[in-house]
């Protein structure tokens, strides 16, 4: 979130006066304290017609094909350069729906809070949730808050689920991917993961590395409007990074993927941070990025259109779907060698030397 937005947030949404500074077990037990927290916080800030009914669940109406997705968010630190866990949770589910070719509409929002979280931090998270919802054009229509004992959580965990109608022109399916398809990435890789790592490791660079967290739904829908069925598959390379996601697709669709390392867009400072910490940017998490598999004939036009979008300025074609080597992802290295891209056996661990 930009500095301007932060100031706007604080002016528009001053924290209400409460007679407690930290969240305690009582806030999650359904009594008076909970009502205080929810009324002055969640319901007030996120108010909309459906939520305002204060019912056990939301009354919604759908016509036609609908996408449904859920995700849980845990990140340490909960505030990081470029965002916080609140907007991450909104953008995450919004983007998952967008990857289905849907227009995200309604979200559920649940918190699991560790006792001792300062109310001020919870408020800041809520405010950024509000703005993230406005930006994406979604409404929080139902939710839940639980508090766990100190030591049984990590400050705050957030879960969001979301639904939205699938765009009539969208036909996003892994089975639509065919040999010859071009693989487009919407921007610089590895920014989110390295923003988090830089904070954790206390790294400083000429300018701060910021998370790329943002909502991609408007960008996606405008691509679908224009290119419809020529967009065969969309995916957001969050956890596990670009390499893991592409390998998963290659395996599940039994297609081969050829990538060209030199065409991968990456911020210079992010690349340096990766070198310094011994991490491979291909496996580092992204939050505001998507990969599109597009018909060969339309690829250049899609790329040009995407580059006009705020979320696609650094978009690049990074590879091609091939009939050879099904299930394998092979990358042409910077010096022209071939490297097989595989999934990591677990979390990426920094190397000793």
């Amino acid at each position: 979130m930009s500095e301007n937005n932060k100031i706007r947030m604080q002016l528009q949404c001053p924290m209400p006066k409460l007679d407690f500074d930290v969240i305690t077990l009582g806030h999650g037990s359904g009594g008076v304290l909970t009502n205080k927290l929810l009324d002055s916080g969640v319901f007030n800030l996120l108010s909309n017609e459906i939520l305002d009914e204060h019912h056990d669940g939301a009354f919604l109406e759908f016509k036609g094909k609908t996408a449904f997705s859920t995700d849980s968010f845990l990140v340490s630190p909960i505030f990081f350069p470029g965002g916080n866990i609140g907007e991450l949770a909104i953008n995450g589910t919004v983007n998952d729906l967008a990857m289905c070719g849907a227009t995200p509409k309604y979200l559920s929002l649940s918190f699991i809070i560790e006792e001792g979280l300062p109310v001020k931090e919870f408020w800041d998270i809520l405010v950024s949730i509000k703005f993230a919802c406005e930006k994406a054009g979604v409404q929080v229509v139902t939710g839940d808050t639980k508090v766990v004992e100190k030591g049984k959580g990590d400050k705050i965990f957030v879960n969001t689920s979301g639904v939205g109608p699938i765009h009539p022109k969208a036909n996003i399916r892994a089975k639509n991917v065919t040999a010859g398809d071009k693989i487009i990435i919407s921007g610089n890789i590895a920014s989110h993961g390295m923003a988090i790592m830089s904070v954790r490791e206390g790294l400083e660079f000429d300018s701060e590395i910021k998370s790329d967290t943002t909502n991609l739904n408007h960008t996606i829908i405008s691509l679908i409007e224009q290119f419809g069925e020529n967009i065969h598959l969309l995916t957001d390379p969050t956890r596990g990074g670009v390499a893991t996601v592409l390998k998963e697709i290659a395996q599940s669709s039994a297609i081969g993927i050829d990538l060209i390392q030199r065409d991968f867009p990456i911020d210079e400072q992010v690349a340096s941070a990766c070198e310094l910490l011994g991490l491979d940017p291909l496996y580092v998490a992204n939050e505001g990025l998507f990969i599109a598999f597009v018909s060969q004939s339309e690829a250049d036009t899609v790329l040009a259109k995407l580059r006009e979008d705020e979320n696609g300025k650094n978009a690049q074609i990074i590879g091609t779907v091939v009939a050879e080597h099904p299930k394998q992802v092979i990358m042409k290295s910077a010096i022209g060698g071939k490297r097989v891209i595989s999934m990591l056996p677990g979390e990426q661990l920094p190397r000793i030397c």
Binding site: V340, S342, P345
Partner: protein, 364 residues
């Protein structure tokens, strides 16, 4: 990017490869000693670009691969039974001990932390005066100065709750052990650039002279590795056996005297067990008596029975270059990165994991 893209230039890489092809007149086997070089070979797809007559053999220079099984069991014991904060470099956590690895111990509730520098561990000790902090100090000569410095630092600041579980291994004795093996077929070596940054090149001259092998001190970027290979091949084709320095932009003939000083202050040379290879004389560092208070093996009773290695694992033969990973009957079958039988299948710089990823085997 300064000092990154310069050494990844595809045009220059092509020139080096051409030059290698033009120079080679017969098959040669070259060992890259250091795991970092193995990593670079694999990551950049260099192995496939070399002419068939040049065979690269991945050496024992992978710290996680050669750290003794018993020491990993000791680290696990300290984390589990002694309730210490056990700090370690990242890729040690997945290395199998006799029963489990440190990641599993962490999952079960032990306080195991991944750090980039042992000095952070001293800070953790200062911040937690009622807890004991142990740093799992593994690695080659490269990590020894920082590990030694952490001891000196803790000593100076009077930090009593910090100690290291040290398992340092040294490159020159390992090269000797590899050449000495009767089955060895290695014609030349790429020595580990970063080890020489610390220690200098002097120890390699007698080895090169005695065993008549070319040794080229080599860096880690793709062009470094290609140039290092070319330099070894040129020597081999001319029947020369000298020590050359490809990594001269970093490595000085006498290394880094300040780093050597701090190593000597804290450590002394001892015989050392190498996982998969066995004991190599004078090939490791032990904490000197003067700093015994910072030596976890002395601070705690950590006598743990030597557990047998998995009998199906032939990691020793692989690290000495006698067998290739795919010649192992378990490779890619019982032994995979998700279920490593031995350490070389763990780290991305371990020979088996490198081959596994390179071969593109699909995890079942």
């Amino acid at each position: 990017m300064k000092y990154m893209s310069e050494y990844r230039d595809p045009e220059l890489a092509k020139k080096y490869l051409e030059e290698i092809k033009n120079t080679v007149s017969r098959p040669w086997s070259i060992m890259e000693v250091c795991g970092g070089q193995t990593h670079s070979l694999v990551k950049n797809g260099i192995i496939d670009m070399l002419p068939d007559s040049v065979t690269m053999i991945h050496g024992p220079g992978c710290p996680v691969c050669v750290t003794p099984l018993n020491l990993i069991d000791k680290a696990i014991y300290l984390a589990e039974e002694k309730d210490v904060i056990l700090c370690s470099f990242g890729d040690m956590l997945r290395v199998p001990g006799s029963k489990k690895n440190l990641l599993e111990v962490k999952a079960e509730g032990a306080d195991v932390r991944i750090l980039y520098s042992p000095l952070e561990a001293v800070k953790i000790a200062e911040d937690n005066p009622d807890r004991e902090v142990v740093f799992f100090a593994v690695g080659f000569e490269t990590t020894a100065p920082a590990n030694a410095l952490s001891v000196v630092h803790a000593h100076r600041r009077g930090v009593k709750n910090y100690s290291i579980l040290a398992s340092h291994v040294l490159v020159p004795p390992a090269i000797k052990a590899v050449i000495d093996d009767e089955e060895s077929t290695i014609d030349g070596f790429l020595a580990a650039g970063h080890v020489c940054t610390i220690m200098g090149n002097s120890e390699y001259h007698p080895i090169s002279a005695e065993f008549k092998v070319p040794i080229v001190v080599t860096g880690f970027e793709p062009l470094d590795v290609l140039q290092g290979i070319l330099m070894v091949i040129r020597q081999l084709e001319q029947s020369k056996s000298e020590v050359e320095n490809q990594y001269a932009r970093i490595v000085r003939e006498d290394g880094n005297p300040d780093a050597q000083k701090v190593i000597n202050e804290v450590f002394e040379i001892r015989n050392q067990m190498w996982r998969g290879i066995g004991e190599i004389p004078e090939s490791g560092y032990a904490v000197r008596e003067k700093y015994a208070a910072f030596d976890a093996t002395k601070k705690y009773d950590v006598t743990i029975e030597e557990a047998p290695e998995n009998p199906d694992c032939i990691s020793g033969l692989i690290m000495k270059g006698i067998k290739k990973p795919f010649e192992c009957t378990q490779f890619g079958k019982k032994c995979k990165p998700t279920n490593p039988l031995g350490a070389p299948m763990v780290s991305s710089e371990g020979a088996c994991a490198a081959y596994y990823h390179f071969s593109g085997l699909v995890e079942a």
